[in-house]
């Protein structure tokens, strides 16, 4: 079993939004970034995986097991961190932890204690008195303390300062020191993934645009800047998200060859960051409204 998560032909329709027949898989031992602008279907996909939403069609298997038939077994092996706090505000962190711990078969109290110490979690404080950063760290400590094989995170870093974000990324690196574990990390703040992600899956308007290793993605894409006259040639066809300015254009080339040809014709090429790639693919100029 090399894939920790497999999604095939998953479809879910709401009023005004359709997650349209998406398929992808997550190899174990890696961090997979799930990117896309807000409203693209990231949270919907995660909620379908967790069976918080009911799929219309398709298959989801986690650790090779159907996620509904083996729901309890699967959930015992998943750690989750969501973007909003859903813990009971009136409970102290310690009380909340005790409740969550009782739900898992393989709760590791020692591990939790060590995370709590490492993060400086004030366990006797009520959840409502914890800062946003502390709440995320609390969720993370819980997610990491039952020997989960798959960590699912939905926008865990939104609203956190850079110091805490970097701490969290370090911890994800720790998780995949074990090559049997995997991390699925959804975010619209792609700078978190620039360094640590192994694979990048981009979703947009309910469809998967690409699913590649981050290195491939960065290597084959280039930000192209050049004179407007270039847009009158056939080279235009190899460009994505063209934005015309007064003094030239800016666009993205999706292959090395295209970038080389454009450079030869007088354009400049720059290495993109993930954010650039996401932006160019979702630009209105592509005919996206």
């Amino acid at each position: 079993m090399e894939n920790i998560l497999e999604i095939r032909n998953l479809t879910k329709t709401f009023q005004g939004f359709t997650l349209n027949n998406i398929s992808f898989s997550l190899p174990k031992g890696f961090i997979t970034g799930f990117i896309g602008p807000n409203g693209s279907g990231k949270t919907t996909t995660i909620k379908l995986i967790m069976n918080l939403l009911r799929k219309d069609e398709g298959e989801i298997s986690i650790f090779g097991l159907d996620h509904i038939k083996h729901e309890s077994e699967v959930k015992n092996r998943i750690g989750f961190v969501y973007d909003e706090n859903h813990y009971y505000e009136e409970l102290t962190a310690e009380q909340m932890k005790r409740f969550v711990a009782s739900a898992y078969n393989n709760w590791d109290e020692e591990k939790f204690t060590s995370f709590a110490r490492k993060f400086g979690l004030p366990l006797n404080k009520k959840i409502k008195d914890l800062s946003r950063g502390m709440k995320v760290k609390f969720s993370l400590a819980i997610a990491l303390s039952h020997d989960a094989d798959l960590l699912i995170m939905d926008e865990p870093t939104s609203g956190l300062d850079p110091v805490i974000r970097s701490e969290i990324l370090d911890i994800l690196h720790d998780v995949i020191q074990d090559e049997n574990k995997g991390v699925f990390f959804s975010t619209h703040i792609t700078s978190d993934l620039d360094r640590i992600a192994d694979y990048i899956i981009m979703i947009y308007k309910g469809e998967i645009l690409f699913n590649k290793t981050k290195d491939e993605l960065i290597e084959e894409h280039a930000i192209i800047k050049g004179p407007l006259s270039l847009l009158d040639t056939s080279l235009k066809n190899s460009l994505i998200g063209i934005k015309k300015g007064k003094y030239g254009f800016e666009a993205m080339a999706a292959s090395r060859e295209a970038a080389d040809a454009l450079v030869k014709a007088g354009a400049t090429a720059e290495k993109p960051a993930l954010e650039d790639i996401m932006l160019f693919y979702t630009r209105k100029e592509n005919g996206n409204a």
Binding site: G29, F30, I31, L169, D170, H173, D174, I176, Q177, E179, R195, I196, A197, D198, Y199, T213, K214, D215, E219, K271
Partner: protein, 124 residues
């Protein structure tokens, strides 16, 4: 062992890692049979992705600089002495060429340059 990664370099990160490890091996800073860090711990320490370090190691293995034993990790491969000497000579030649170019630019004569070379050779 130092490995310095530049994000602004045009060289892909895996290439930067492979080149630097190669350098360490050729200079003898990494001895034969010495274990290398695991791809996962190296990825963590360099704060980069596992796939990137894996690719660097694959590259090094392909070129015969390291060997990877399943379940045991990667080690510096037994280097072909002749090959190693050749590559070292090549490094010396490259550096000398740079020195000569710098000397010419500064209008240093061959005699003066030889004098310097002799001094450094005996001092080092």
């Amino acid at each position: 062992m130092n490995i310095i990664i530049s994000n602004t370099s045009d060289k892909p990160i895996y290439q930067q890692i492979a080149d630097q490890i190669k350098d360490h091996i050729m200079r003898g800073a990494l001895a034969e049979a010495e274990p290398l860090p695991s791809i996962r711990s190296l990825a963590k320490d360099l704060n980069i992705s596992v796939i990137t370090t894996k690719r660097a190691y694959d590259e090094l293995e392909k070129e015969g600089f390291i060997v990877t034993l399943a379940g045991k990790g990667s080690y510096v491969a037994a280097q072909n002495k002749e090959l190693l000497r050749e590559s070292r000579i090549k490094i010396a030649e490259e550096k000398l060429f740079e020195a000569v170019a710098a000397a010419k630019a500064a209008e240093i004569t061959l005699e003066e340059l030889e004098e310097m070379l002799k001094f450094f050779y005996e001092e080092a």
